[in-house]
């Protein structure tokens, strides 16, 4: 039998379609190639001879960057794991007052950019802030009479980042707990295990891949962060890249720093990919039953509610209220011409980026579906690693090749026609949009791909046999069916572009400000109250996808009738 199979395989090999390319496949590869450019450029600078600046960096700050980054990663890991896993377990497995609200409200901190949270705490807790002022008034202390924790520190930074990134861990862990089906847990109960024992020995190990994925996402955010660590004067790679590029004017050294940061990123990315793969084997059943829930009473219930309330209070309610108060205090600066320009610029950038990202994602996902060759699949995988790459790294990786193109074109035009073309790409919106695309294509692609996968392939076959070409099938069958998901994908990209700080800061055209950049500039000038207006605008838009996500969570609960 094997010989028959083998000969047939060799005979059939020439028409095997696995590596064949059609128009869709070529497009997928092209996009993948373009998206991969920034990362490749950054890595290529490892081979560029080191400059004096680099030796200076290596001997002075490099070790501090590494140590600070490691501390941040460790601190954020602990903070998000304790908060995220603990809260997920409480809301899925226990019953206590307010559980229904906590279930979705625990996601709210996702809406606030880390830097906005950092600004509010800095404003509240520094020496002139309301908290210390109140303490001094209350006890009659003066400056040197008391000790107060310094929020602008490494510890402060990981607290801030932990507060806004724990929802990733919470979201995925909660889903994993729900999927575990009661059966496994009930079996372990009947085998004589108590609730705690169940949690530690059954539920937790089963949810481990999901927890790891959530943690990986939280750490990617941490490694990308620029606004928080910059404001708290914690030297990390992102601030180092920024300073080396602008302060020291050495792009090569900045790229080399970026390459080192990417090593950290790839470690986290590897963890995420690995855990996602492992998750497939941890799926215990497809049958769901409502979770019974341990009824908590008296002090236990209070403790559980407190545990869930704390991250919402400190991660969302408090910072959002402070932003609101500040924004009202400085309201005369909000409804100005300048502010309207900021809003318009932000909407323009985010809107165009979202539209492009969704359009390309649709073509990529659809090409994968109908072209289905290994090359296109690989292409779309490569195209989707951008979400792990920090904005500052992408900025360096985009600006360097764009500047090279500009200079080459300029030199050629100058030499041939005597005209100087100057900067064609770098410093334009095109460059910035490209950077956003590299960073956020994965978000739209994953959303579109998941939605497309829900459409049975028979739909394609039906449309095709009824005479529709692939492009018509896409437009008249898939697109209308996926309309909701396309909007969601666009919205997610829109919000992320709006929040993105370092890439925008480094790459924006001269005199072109957005809400995020303005927030950063005002905060850097210690005009924290004035920064509240633009920051609040970002939070208000950012809350839309979180609300949608919460609503989806409330609706789709396995094993329970839709609410």
């Amino acid at each position: 039998m094997t010989t028959v199979g083998d000969t047939a395989r060799t005979v059939l090999a020439p028409v095997n379609r696995r590596f064949r390319l059609n128009r869709w496949g070529i497009f997928a590869l092209l996009v993948a190639g373009m998206v991969a450019v920034p990362v490749l450029v950054v890595f290529s600078f490892v081979f560029v001879p080191a400059t004096d600046v680099w030796y200076h960096l290596a001997s002075t700050v490099l070790s501090r960057y590494v140590v600070n980054t490691l501390w941040l990663v460790a601190g954020v890991s602990i903070a998000t794991l304790v908060t995220g896993v603990g809260a997920a377990w409480l809301v899925t497995m226990c019953r206590f007052p307010g559980r229904g609200v906590f279930e979705w409200a625990l996601l709210l901190p996702m809406a606030v950019p880390a830097y906005a949270v950092a600004y509010t705490y800095a404003g509240m807790l520094d020496f002139a802030g309301p908290v210390q002022t109140m303490l001094r008034d209350l006890f009659g202390w003066s400056r040197h009479d008391y000790w107060f924790p310094e929020v602008r520190s490494l510890g402060g930074a990981f607290m801030m980042l932990g507060l806004v990134t724990y929802p990733y861990v919470y979201l995925l862990t909660r889903a994993a707990f729900l999927e575990q089906s009661v059966c496994v847990l009930e079996v372990s109960r009947t085998l004589g295990r108590g609730p705690w024992n169940c949690f530690l020995r059954v539920a937790l190990p089963l949810a481990r891949p999901a927890i790891a994925t959530g943690l990986a996402l939280a750490l990617m955010e941490t490694l990308s962060d620029f606004g928080t660590v910059q404001h708290f004067a914690v030297d990390t790679f992102t601030t180092g890249i920024f300073r080396t590029w602008f302060g020291l004017g050495d792009p090569a050294a900045a790229a080399q720093l970026a390459a080192i940061l990417m090593v950290f990123v790839f470690a986290v990315l590897f963890m995420e990919r690995w855990s996602r793969r492992a998750a497939r084997y941890h799926h215990t059943t497809t049958r769901y039953r409502p979770l019974p829930g341990y009824q908590l009473r008296s002090w236990r219930a209070l403790l559980a509610a407190g545990f869930c309330l704390a991250p919402i209070l400190f991660g969302f309610l408090l910072p959002a209220s402070v932003l609101l108060v500040w924004a009202i205090e400085t309201s005369d600066t909000i409804f100005t011409r300048d502010f309207m320009d900021l809003v318009w610029h932000t909407i323009l950038l985010a809107g165009v980026a979202a539209a492009i990202a969704v359009a390309i994602a649709v073509i990529l996902a659809y090409g994968n579906r109908i072209g289905g060759s290994r090359l296109t699949t690989m292409g779309s995988r490569i195209a989707s690693i951008g979400y792990a790459v920090p904005g500052s790294v992408i900025a360096v990786g985009v600006l360097l090749p764009f500047a090279w193109i500009d200079n080459s074109v300029d030199a050629w035009m100058h030499g041939t026609f005597g005209i100087s073309t100057g900067l064609l790409l770098s410093g334009t919106i095109v460059a910035l949009l490209f950077a956003y695309l590299v960073r956020f294509l994965a978000i739209s692609f994953n959303t579109v791909e998941a939605s497309l996968a829900k459409v049975t392939p028979n739909m394609d076959s039906a449309a095709r046999t009824l005479g529709a070409r692939p492009s018509k099938t896409l437009l008249s069958v898939h697109a209308p069916m996926m309309w909701g998901s396309l909007l969601t994908a666009g919205l997610l990209v829109f919000v992320d572009v709006m929040k993105e700080l370092p890439a925008t800061l480094i790459m924006r055209p001269f005199d072109f400000n957005t809400l995020a950049v303005r927030t950063y500039e005002l905060a850097s000038d210690e005009q924290l109250a004035e920064a509240a207006g633009p920051a609040l605008a970002i939070v208000m838009v950012g809350i839309i996808p979180v609300v949608l996500l919460s609503a989806a969570i409330a609706r789709a609960r396995p094993g329970q009738p839709p609410a």
């Binding site: 047939a8 076959s461 449309a463 095709r464």
Partner: protein
């Protein structure tokens, strides 16, 4: 006139052969059922005919035009075929009328397309549901919309992939008959894939039986039923009593009597397959000789069950010996423990050389 011709189609997925050198043709106005157990390659064959899978080896010819193979691949939208799926694949965002009008050529005016679609829907008896969305329809209605949608562009070839298996049993027979008369009326050639032998017998002008990617036997339904080429074909279309024996003196000895060896080599082992309806029971146990029956013996009824239109009776010819299934028309089954005379109908009894190994 030949509408569809598959020539020596061989197809593999990841080196694993799914369709092995299959040749098949469907004439105009003819319904051919491609039948076989799940995983036998029948659906793949259909997808190759539709152009949803590219031909790897062999040729696909539709209306004298090579549409696949020889380096050609005509995409499905240019083949002029209709396709009906098990899950119907109705477009959920389009109303019934828009679903049916989807395949009508764009060069016609909107009004013309709506009129054609309406006429088609009237024909399947759903003229009143044109404005409905697919999810509001019952299974039977969805099936008829799918059929109307596939037939509306007047394809010369209809391909149907398990089109009735999603329906309730009560509804299935009626829809099958309606579908058949519509297909006959439109005169289109039809290739229908099913795993249900009864459905194939009911629908087909010709049946092609597949197993492990190969075409086992092909012919009119009654031919396949009465003259199976081998044990697989025989057991696929009905339950059988199976036993093993050896050829001696050009005949085969069985507990139910002696059968003709039908030219099988002397001394070789054979498989004897006896359809339950081939065993006739005579309770009166009279000694009268039936000239039609070639073999007869007596048996004890072990168990008997009335299933409505027919009854199942289990008999045994020797104590502790093998039990045979007998199928009788009606509800007059002999009680267990009673003794009967058995006559065997040789036309529903088959002897095949035993497959070695």
């Amino acid at each position: 006139m030949v509408s569809l011709s598959l020539e020596n189609i061989t197809h593999a997925f990841d080196g694993k052969i799914a369709v092995d050198n299959v040749s098949l043709r469907v004439d105009q106005g003819e319904v051919v059922c491609l039948v076989g157990p799940s995983g036998c390659g029948k659906s793949t064959t259909l997808r190759i005919a539709a152009g949803l899978e590219e031909v790897q080896q062999g040729r696909v010819i539709i209306n004298d035009r090579v549409v696949g193979g020889d380096g050609h691949h005509v995409p499905p939208e240019l083949r002029g075929i209709g396709l009906v799926f098990q899950d119907y694949a109705l477009f959920p965002h389009l109303r019934v009328l828009e679903n049916v009008a989807f395949g009508l050529a764009d060069d016609r005016s909107g009004r013309e397309r709506r009129a054609t679609a309406q006429a088609m829907l009237d024909k399947v008896g759903l003229g009143h549901l044109v404005e409905a969305f697919p999810h509001t329809l019952s299974g039977g209605e969805q099936q008829r919309v799918a059929l109307a949608r596939a037939l509306a562009p007047k394809p010369s070839l209809m391909l149907m992939d398990e089109p009735f298996s999603g329906l309730d049993i009560g509804l299935r027979d009626r829809i099958r008959d309606d579908t058949l008369s519509l297909l006959k009326e439109s005169g289109t050639a039809t290739l229908l894939v099913t795993h249900d032998p009864e459905e194939a017998m009911r629908m087909a002008d010709r049946i092609a039986l597949m197993r492990d990617g190969r075409l086992v036997q092909e012919g009119r339904p009654d031919r396949l039923y009465s003259y199976p080429d081998g044990p697989f074909c025989c057991t696929f279309f009905s339950n059988v009593n199976e036993l093993e024996s050896v050829v001696e003196n050009k005949s085969v000895q069985t507990p139910l009597g002696i059968l003709d060896a039908r030219g099988i080599v002397e001394g070789s082992t054979v498989n004897v397959l006896i359809r339950p309806e081939a065993i006739h029971l005579d309770e009166t146990a009279s000694t009268g000789f039936d000239p039609q029956a070639t073999v007869s013996t007596t048996a004890t009824v072990v168990e008997s069950r009335v299933l409505g239109p027919y009854s199942l009776v289990y008999v045994r010819t020797v104590p502790e010996g093998p039990v045979f299934e007998v199928r009788l028309a009606g509800t007059q089954a002999p009680e267990s423990g009673s003794r009967c005379r058995i006559t065997l109908d040789p036309s529903q009894t088959f002897v095949f050389p035993a497959v070695s190994g």
